[in-house]
């Protein structure tokens, strides 16, 4: 079932994978990172964010990381997420698929680029 949910990959899931290519992040940091990498265009709300995280966890594209030792004492214990090897592979696959589309768009002059 997870496979079906991620194929085709929804843009929120793609953005989250992309956000996790660097450090392990918790939910709020993912949201900030996604906003930053899309110039503020995409702001994931809590429902979409955690819904996508759950789907990605089920698909084993990301995993939860135990970072209790770093957590500050008190109620603010957060869950951190990390890209798995399968997630990284899938991310590259999706990015290549987008790059292919972009090439077609260039060839069809949908995008203004160098005049060929």
């Amino acid at each position: 079932m997870p496979k079906r949910k991620l194929d085709p990959m929804p843009s929120a899931a793609f953005e989250i994978l992309l956000a996790l290519t660097g450090d392990d992040l918790h939910g709020y940091a993912i949201m900030r990172q996604v906003a930053a990498q899309t110039n503020g265009r995409v702001r994931l709300g809590p429902g979409t964010l955690y819904g996508s995280i759950q789907t990605l966890l089920e698909g084993k594209l990301i995993e939860e990381v135990d970072r209790r030792e770093e957590a500050r004492p008190g109620p603010e214990r957060r869950r951190y997420y990390r890209l798995t090897a399968a997630g990284r592979k899938r991310l590259r696959f999706e990015a290549e698929r987008l790059a292919d589309l972009l090439r077609v768009a260039r060839a069809k002059k949908v995008l203004r680029g160098e005049y060929v």
Partner: protein, 454 residues
């Protein structure tokens, strides 16, 4: 405060989701509230939350349902169909309340949405919600032919008949060569009798076929039948004061499409011009640009992105390249007097300097007029690609609500023999990719100018 507010809609999510991520989601709202200060940011945050609810709620419920009902509902242990029921729990009061509020918001937004969509319709075409009075207004959109936007009307035999007759009649009445006009009318009638039009129901295809057939007879590429999905106005409207004001403002903002006026190394003047604007608006800009290039030893006109426009500007700029009035062929002009350049231009020193014109497949219309004239007079070297081949349709005649045709009413003899650039385009003297045209022309020009420096 807001986290407490968010706790309410959070209850709408399935129990699993709340248990797993409820605390995290509330934490996220707290974080956002801490970082997003200011009224606008807060407002955007809450709008985002609403949109998020609308999108993610159905998804979360879909996620729960298939697990409970999915494949297992279809097959029992022995392969036979069976049913399972979900544990029954009455909806909570909070969920019902929020469901009610959301429904009210969505229902009340429907009339606004409809009103908003209505604004995008082109004027003159009654939309599906137009009042009967508006739709039957005879001045609206051509009576019975009026259709909703995006849906082309199908041609019927009566309209095909009407268009063919109108083409023949207009040709006989206006075409410069009467014998040829009769020949074309006879040809059309023969094509019609042979049943060639009977299966054509698409306007554009019909117009294209008629154009091809009258050109076959006359070899006149300036004849054209056109189809317009939007009803054609009864009388072609001249430029309205508003439109002229808009044009004037657009020209002021874009420096009259004189994109670059520069002196390149080796004293090569470079002018990148993206249209031939109206001289009464842009004459001063054009003169200032040419004055700036006056000291150059060679001049490059970059017309690779030039879509044409006013023949008068073509003549104005061409005048700088001659020291005496020169006949500059213009198929669109009805009198020959206006086809002579107003040379010499006082104070101008460019009349005998080498000139280069950069062309591309997007060089159109007026820009082709300029390129063709200079090429035929051997006054400039064209560098780049073959030009677009725009047809200039002479005088426009309305045939009916959707069809019209262009007829050249006076024949200005092309001193270089037909065809000119219509349809076929202008071939450059030096054929290179448009992207490489400037480097090539610069190299050609610098050879000339550097020999002068020695």
């Amino acid at each position: 405060m807001s986290e407490k507010l968010y706790a309410w809609p959070l209850r709408l999510y399935p129990a699993n989701f709340r248990k797993e991520y409820g605390e995290e989601a509330l934490q996220l709202v707290r974080d956002c509230q801490r970082d997003d200060k200011g009224f606008l940011l807060r407002l955007r945050f809450w709008l985002n939350l609403l949109a998020d609810l609308a999108i993610s709620l159905p998804r979360e419920y879909r996620r729960v349902q298939p697990e409970a009902l999915g494949p297992r509902a279809a097959l029992g242990p022995d392969g036979s169909p069976s049913f399972r029921s979900l544990p029954y729990a009455p909806p909570r009061f909070g969920a019902l309340f929020f469901g009610g509020v959301l429904s009210l918001i969505m229902l009340s937004s429907i009339p606004r949405l409809i009103a908003h969509m209505g604004n995008g319709r082109p004027p003159g075409v009654p939309g599906p919600w137009a009042s009967p009075a508006q739709a039957s207004n005879p001045q609206g959109a051509g009576g019975g032919l009026a259709v909703t936007a995006g849906e082309a009307p199908k041609l019927d035999a009566a309209e095909r008949q009407r268009v063919v007759e109108a083409v023949a009649a207009n040709l006989k009445k206006y075409y410069v060569d009467r014998d040829m006009a009769t020949k074309m009318a006879v040809a059309l009638s023969a094509h019609q009798k042979a049943g060639e039009y009977d299966t054509l129901t698409e306007g554009p295809a019909f117009a294209e076929l008629l154009t091809k057939q009258i050109r076959e007879v006359s070899h006149d590429l300036h004849l054209e039948v056109i189809y317009s999905q939007r009803p054609l106005p009864d009388r072609p409207a001249g430029p309205s004061p508003e439109r002229m004001a808009f044009y004037r403002r657009a020209m002021q903002e874009s420096n009259c499409t004189f994109e670059k006026v520069e002196i390149l190394p080796h004293r090569i003047g470079y002018l990148k011009l993206n249209s031939f604007p109206e001289p009464s608006v842009c004459g001063p800009t054009a003169k200032a640009a040419m004055a700036r290039l006056n000291g150059a030893e060679a001049i490059i006109f970059d017309l690779r992105d030039n879509r044409g426009a006013y023949p008068d500007m073509v003549m104005l700029l061409a005048a700088y390249l001659f020291d005496h009035p020169e006949f500059f062929y213009n198929p669109r002009e009805n009198t020959i007097e206006r086809s002579w350049t107003r040379s010499p231009v006082p104070g101008n020193r460019l009349a005998d300097k080498p000139a280069y014109v950069l062309t591309s497949a997007r060089t159109f219309s007026g820009a082709e007029h300029f390129s063709y004239g200079l090429k035929m007079l051997k006054r400039a070297t064209l560098v780049g690609e073959k030009t677009g081949g725009a047809t200039d349709v002479g005088v426009f005649h309305r045939l009916d609500d959707h069809f019209g045709m262009g007829i050249r009413e006076t024949r200005v003899i092309n001193p270089y023999r037909e065809p000119d650039w219509a349809v076929v385009g202008v071939e450059p003297n030096v054929k290179v990719k448009a992207a490489d045209a400037l480097t090539t022309a610069e190299a050609l020009a610098s050879r000339v100018t550097s020999s002068l420096e020695k």
